[in-house]
C-alpha cells in the first residue's frame, strides 16, 4: 500500500524536494499544501517582477500540469496551523484534517517586523510573496515617494524595483554600511555609490522610530528627528523561520526546526527542509543550500539514507544590474593569520577582496563585477590550494582556461542558483538534445534565465561539451562600458535608461569615447523608439550639425532628392545657393543626388533655409537614399513603377537612424539599372511581382543581395522592406552593415523573424517603426531653432566682452 506523504509548503524548497523524491523509486501519495494560491514560483525573481523585467508567468517553476502529470495533489490557499503528531494528522485554518504517514515541513520564513509605531498603517508592506509584489506594483509609479527599511539583499532589490517603476526611493539602513552582513565597510561604500548613481537615496545609521500619517502612511520619522515623506514603505529588515507550528507540535525547535544531517527532525516520520530549519546552529535564507538539503532529504525519506548534509558556505548575490555584489565565506581581515588581496577601481566602481589563509580562500567580496563568482566559490568550497595562482588571483580566468575550469566542477555543482540547474543536468541536456548555443540551453534547461550571472559558465560548458558549439558574438562595445551591445540594449531597456551619460555613469567609466558614445546614442534612440534624451555631445560631429565633415574641416551638403527625382525649380535653387555661398565644388553623387562641397559650418543653416529642401542624411548612419531607374514611367522595358515605389519607400523610412548607413534601390525590371542587387534593401520589379532583396554590397567587397521574399503587390513589397528595416534596426550591431548582419544571423532566421513571422510579431515591428517615424523629423529644420553657437563661432573683441569685463572687475 502506498504511504501518504504530506508536504506543508508549496515554495521552492518543498517543491524542489518533491521533484527530487520523484527521481527516486518512491511509494508515496503526495499532497502539497500551500498557503499562497499560486503554483510554485521562483521567489528569488520576485524583484525582477517588481522591476518589470519579468512577468508573473515568467517566474513560474512548476505549472499546474506538472502537479497533475506527477499525480501530486496540490491544496493551494490552505494554511496549516496544527500538526498532531500522536494521531499523525495535520489541520488547516479552514478546518480540514489530513492524515499522513510521513510529513515534510517546508514552511519557509516570514519577514521580521521590527517594533516600530504605525507599522500596521496602510501603505506599509513586506516583500515576500507574489501578492506582495503585485500590491507594490499597483501602488508604485512616477512621483510616489517610497521608503525601504533595510539595506540588505531583499531591501535593495525591492528599492531598485520600485525605482524602476518610477518611485523616488530612499533606503534606510540601521547599520553603518549597506549589506553589512555580507560586505565590509569599503564594499558597502562602493555599493552605496553605485546605487546613488542609479538614483536611489541611501541613509545608513538610520533608526526608524515611527511611521506617521492617519490610516495611510504619510511619512517616516528617524531617531535624529528627521521626517521623510513616504506614500509607500517596504519593510525588509530580515526574516525569521516559520517554525511555530513545529514547536507547538512538540518537535525540537530552537530558532528553526532542528534537523540532523539527513534532514530528519526529532520525530522519526517528520522531515523538514528549507528556511524553516536549523542545522548545527545555521539558519538559511538563500536558495543554494536548500537545493543541497532537498537532495539529501529525498534520499533519506525514500529509504536511501546515505547522502548527508554538511552545512554550507554562506554565499550571497545581489541581482541589480550594474551594482552586482557577491559575497561568500568569512571576509573579516582582522583575524589572526589571514591575508587580504584587494582591488579597488573607483572609476568603474569595482571592488574585489579575497581573504586567504595558508594560500586557501576563506572569504570573498565582489562589488561592481561579480562575473567571476563561481571560480571563487569553487576555491572556497573545495579548499583549493592557490599557491600556483597567487600572481593572478583577481584576474578573470583566461578564456582558454574557462573550459578546463568548468570541466573541473563536479556534476552536482549548481551552475544556475536561480533555477537550481546542476552541471550534470546541463551536460545531459547538451548531449541528449544536441544543444549548441546559449539561447538553446536557456530555452531547454532554464539555466541562465534568472539573474543571468551564470551565463559565462554555461557558455564554457557548451564550448567544452557540444561538438557543434556556436559562439555567440558577445564582443564588448568598448573598455569605457565593457558590455556587449546585446547586453547594453537589455540594460537600457530594463533599467529604463534614456540618455548616454546615464549609461556611462552607471555601467561605465562616466566619460566614454568616440567609439562607445555614438553607439550608445544609437542604442538609446532605437530602444526608446526616438523617445530618448538626445545628447549631442555623444554624437559624431556630422550628427551635431547634420552635414558631413571633410578633410579640411568644411562640410558637404546633400539635400534629399527622393528616388533621384528633381525639378527645374529645385535645380535652379541649388544653383543659386551654390553661387550665393561660393560653394567650391558641386558634384553629382553616386546615389543620384547633388553634393555641395566645401561649406563652412556657419553657412549651413542659411543654405538649408535657402534650399528649402529636406536633409538627405548623407552624413549619418541612417537612411541614405533610394536609387531608382526610370521604370514603367518612360522605359520601354519597365514592368513596374520603380520611381513612384522608390519615392514612397524613401518617404516611409527617411529621417531614421540605422546601425550603419542604409542604401536602397528600386528597379522596374530585372535589367537592374539602379543596381538594386547590391543595396542594403532592393526591390526588383518583374511582370506581376516584386522581389525584395537584402544584404547586398558594392563597396570594399561586392555581395549580391539575398532574396527576402517575392510578393505580388507594391504595398506588400514596401511592407516587407519595412519589416527587414526595423528588424535590422533592432538586432544589428552598431556599425554592422546589412551584408554582415544577414550573414551573421543567416537568411533563414531573418526570413522567419520578419516576412514569415507570426502576424503579431510583424505588426509589432511595423508599429515600432511607425512610432519611431512619428517622432523623427527633418534634421535641417533645426535651422529655425539652433542651440547657442551650434553653427557660428563665438566672436569676442580683443579686450573681451566689455560689459562682462566690468562685472568681473567688481568681483576682483
Amino acid at each position: 500500500m502506498k504511504q501518504r506523504l504530506a508536504v506543508i509548503g508549496n515554495g521552492m524548497a518543498g517543491v524542489f524536494c518533491v521533484e527530487q523524491i520523484l527521481k527516486h523509486n518512491h511509494n508515496f501519495d503526495i499532497t502539497i499544501f500551500g498557503d499562497e494560491t499560486h503554483v510554485n514560483y521562483n521567489r528569488i525573481l520576485l524583484s525582477s517582477v517588481l522591476a518589470g523585467e519579468k512577468e508573473v508567468d515568467d517566474i513560474v517553476l512548476n505549472d499546474i500540469d506538472w502537479y497533475k502529470q506527477n499525480g501530486i495533489q496540490a491544496k493551494l490557499g490552505l494554511r496549516i496551523d496544527k500538526i498532531d503528531l500522536a494521531n499523525k494528522t495535520i489541520h488547516s485554518v479552514q478546518g480540514c484534517t489530513t492524515s499522513f504517514d510521513k510529513l515534510l515541513i517546508a514552511t519557509g520564513s516570514s519577514p521580521f517586523l521590527p517594533p516600530i509605531g504605525g507599522i500596521d498603517k496602510q501603505g506599509v508592506f513586506v516583500f515576500r510573496t507574489l501578492d506582495d509584489a503585485k500590491h507594490l506594483l499597483a501602488l508604485s509609479g512616477a512621483g510616489v515617494k517610497a521608503v525601504v527599511i533595510g539595506g540588505g539583499l531583499l531591501g535593495l532589490e525591492a528599492a531598485r524595483g520600485l525605482q524602476l517603476q518610477g518611485c523616488d526611493v530612499t533606503v534606510l539602513h540601521l547599520g553603518t554600511h549597506l549589506m553589512d552582513r555580507q560586505l565590509d565597510f569599503t564594499g558597502g561604500q562602493f555599493l552605496k555609490r553605485k546605487l546613488e548613481s542609479l538614483g536611489i537615496a541611501v541613509r545608513c545609521n538610520a533608526v526608524t522610530t515611527a511611521f506617521t500619517g492617519d490610516a495611510h502612511v504619510e511619512g517616516v520619522t528617524l531617531n535624529d528627528g528627521t521626517q521623510l515623506p513616504a506614500n509607500l514603505v517596504v519593510v525588509a529588515a530580515g526574516i525569521k523561520p516559520n517554525s511555530g507550528i513545529a514547536k507547538i507540535a512538540g518537535l525540537d525547535v530552537n530558532k528553526g526546526i532542528l534537523v540532523n544531517e539527513y534532514l530528519e527532525t526529532s520525530h522519526p516520520d517528520v522531515y523538514a527542509v528549507g528556511e524553516c530549519t536549523e542545522f548545527e546552529g545555521q539558519l538559511f535564507g538563500l536558495v543554494a543550500p536548500l537545493f543541497e538539503q532537498g537532495k539529501v532529504l529525498a534520499a533519506s525519506i525514500t529509504g536511501n539514507r546515505g547522502p548527508v548534509f554538511t552545512g554550507y558556505t554562506p554565499a550571497t548575490k545581489l541581482k541589480i544590474m550594474g551594482a552586482d555584489v557577491f559575497s561568500a565565506g568569512d571576509f573579516d581581515d582582522m583575524r589572526e593569520g589571514v591575508e587580504c588581496v584587494r582591488l579597488e577601481d573607483p572609476s568603474l566602481g569595482i571592488y574585489k577582496k579575497l581573504i586567504l589563509r595558508n594560500n586557501k580562500l576563506e572569504g570573498v567580496i565582489l562589488v561592481g563585477d561579480a562575473s567571476d563568482d563561481h571560480r571563487f566559490m569553487d576555491w572556497l568550497r573545495n579548499g583549493t590550494d592557490l599557491t600556483e595562482q597567487r600572481r593572478n588571483l583577481l584576474s578573470p580566468a583566461a578564456s582558454a582556461g574557462l573550459g578546463e575550469d568548468a570541466a573541473a566542477l563536479p556534476d552536482s555543482h549548481t551552475v544556475c542558483g536561480c533555477n537550481g540547474v546542476s552541471k550534470g543536468a546541463i551536460i545531459e541536456a547538451i548531449h541528449n538534445q544536441g544543444l549548441c548555443t546559449l539561447a538553446q540551453l536557456k530555452d531547454k534547461t532554464r539555466a541562465a534565465t534568472g539573474c543571468g550571472s551564470c551565463a559565462g559558465l554555461c557558455q564554457s560548458l557548451l564550448k567544452a561539451v557540444s561538438p557543434d558549439y556556436a559562439e555567440e558574438k558577445a564582443k564588448v562595445l568598448c573598455s569605457c562600458v565593457p558590455f556587449s551591445q546585446d547586453q547594453l540594449r537589455e540594460i537600457i531597456r530594463s533599467q529604463k535608461l534614456k540618455g548616454v551619460q546615464e549609461v556611462l555613469d552607471i555601467y561605465g567609466n562616466g566619460i566614454g569615447c568616440e567609439v562607445c558614445k555614438p553607439a550608445l546614442s544609437y542604442l538609446v534612440d532605437v530602444v526608446w523608439l526616438g523617445d530618448h534624451d538626445e545628447d549631442r555631445s555623444a554624437r559624431f560631429i556630422n550628427d551635431r550639425v547634420h552635414a558631413n565633415i571633410q578633410k579640411d574641416g568644411t562640410f558637404s551638403v546633400i539635400p534629399r532628392m527622393r528616388g533621384g527625382v528633381t525639378t527645374p525649380a529645385e535645380l535652379r535653387k541649388i544653383a543659386d545657393v551654390a553661387e550665393k555661398y561660393n560653394v567650391p565644388l558641386v558634384k553629382v553623387t553616386g546615389s543620384q543626388r547633388i553634393d555641395l562641397l566645401g561649406v563652412k559650418k556657419a553657412d549651413l543653416p542659411g543654405m538649408w533655409a535657402d534650399l528649402g529642401m529636406r536633409s538627405g542624411q548623407a552624413y549619418t548612419k541612417g537612411v541614405r537614399m533610394v536609387k531608382t531607374c526610370v521604370g514603367s514611367t518612360f522605359c520601354r522595358f519597365g514592368t513596374q513603377d520603380s520611381i513612384a515605389t522608390g519615392v514612397e519607400l524613401e518617404r516611409r523610412l527617411e529621417d531614421l537612424f540605422t546601425p550603419h548607413k542604409t542604401k536602397l534601390a528600386v528597379v522596374g525590371c530585372p535589367r537592374n539599372c539602379a543596381e538594386a542587387t547590391v543595396k542594403d534593401i532592393g526591390l526588383i520589379g518583374q511582370e506581376g511581382s516584386w522581389q525584395v532583396v537584402v544584404g547586398g554590397a558594392a563597396g570594399k567587397g561586392v555581395r549580391k543581395a539575398d532574396l527576402l521574399i517575392t510578393v505580388e503587390t507594391t504595398e506588400e513589397a514596401l511592407d516587407a522592406s519595412a519589416l527587414f528595416f526595423q528588424y535590422y534596426r533592432e538586432h544589428g550591431v552598431y556599425l554592422e552593415r546589412t551584408y554582415d548582419f544577414v550573414e551573421r544571423l543567416g537568411m533563414e532566421k531573418v526570413r522567419r523573424d520578419t516576412v514569415y513571422a507570426a502576424d503579431d510579431v510583424k505588426q509589432g515591428l511595423l508599429d515600432r517603426l511607425q512610432k519611431s517615424k512619428d517622432r523623427a523629423s527633418d534634421a535641417w529644420l533645426e535651422r529655425d531653432n539652433p542651440r547657442p553657437y551650434q553653427f557660428a563661432p563665438i566672436e569676442v573683441p580683443n579686450d573681451g566682452l566689455v560689459q562682462i569685463q566690468m562685472q568681473e572687475k567688481a568681483h576682483v
Binding site: 567609466n509 566619460i511 569615447c513 547657442p788 563665438i794 566672436e795 569676442v796 573683441p797 569685463q805
Partner: protein, 116 residues
Amino acid sequence: MSSSPWIAITVIENLPLKEGRTLHWKGLDIALFNLGTRVVAVENKCPHMDGPLVDGIVSTFEGRITVTCPLHTRRICLESGQTLKPATDGPCVRTFPAKIVDGLVLLQENTTLDVI
C-alpha cells in the same frame, strides 16, 4: 613675469556640456569645452592634420580627459595639449587657462607659449 589679464568671453550657458564651441579671439581659433565643473580651452587645430578639435567627442585616455579629433581619431589631452593616442613626441596643441566665475567663462592668454 606678470600674467595676462583674465578676459570674459561668454556666459557658461552658451557652452553645452562636453560639446565643443568655437571661439574667435585675437585672431585665434580656440576650442572651448564645458566639462561640467570646469571649462578647458585649446587651440582648434589637431597637430596631426589640422583637424577641428572643437568638433571632436570628449573622451578619456589612461585616466586623462581627451578630445578625439573628428578626422583621424587622434586623442588630444585637454589639460596638456599632448597627443596621447597614438602616443607621439610631436607638437602639442596650445592650451589656454580658463575658469568659470559667477557663470562667466574667463580666459587667459597662455603667457609661456605666447607668440603674438
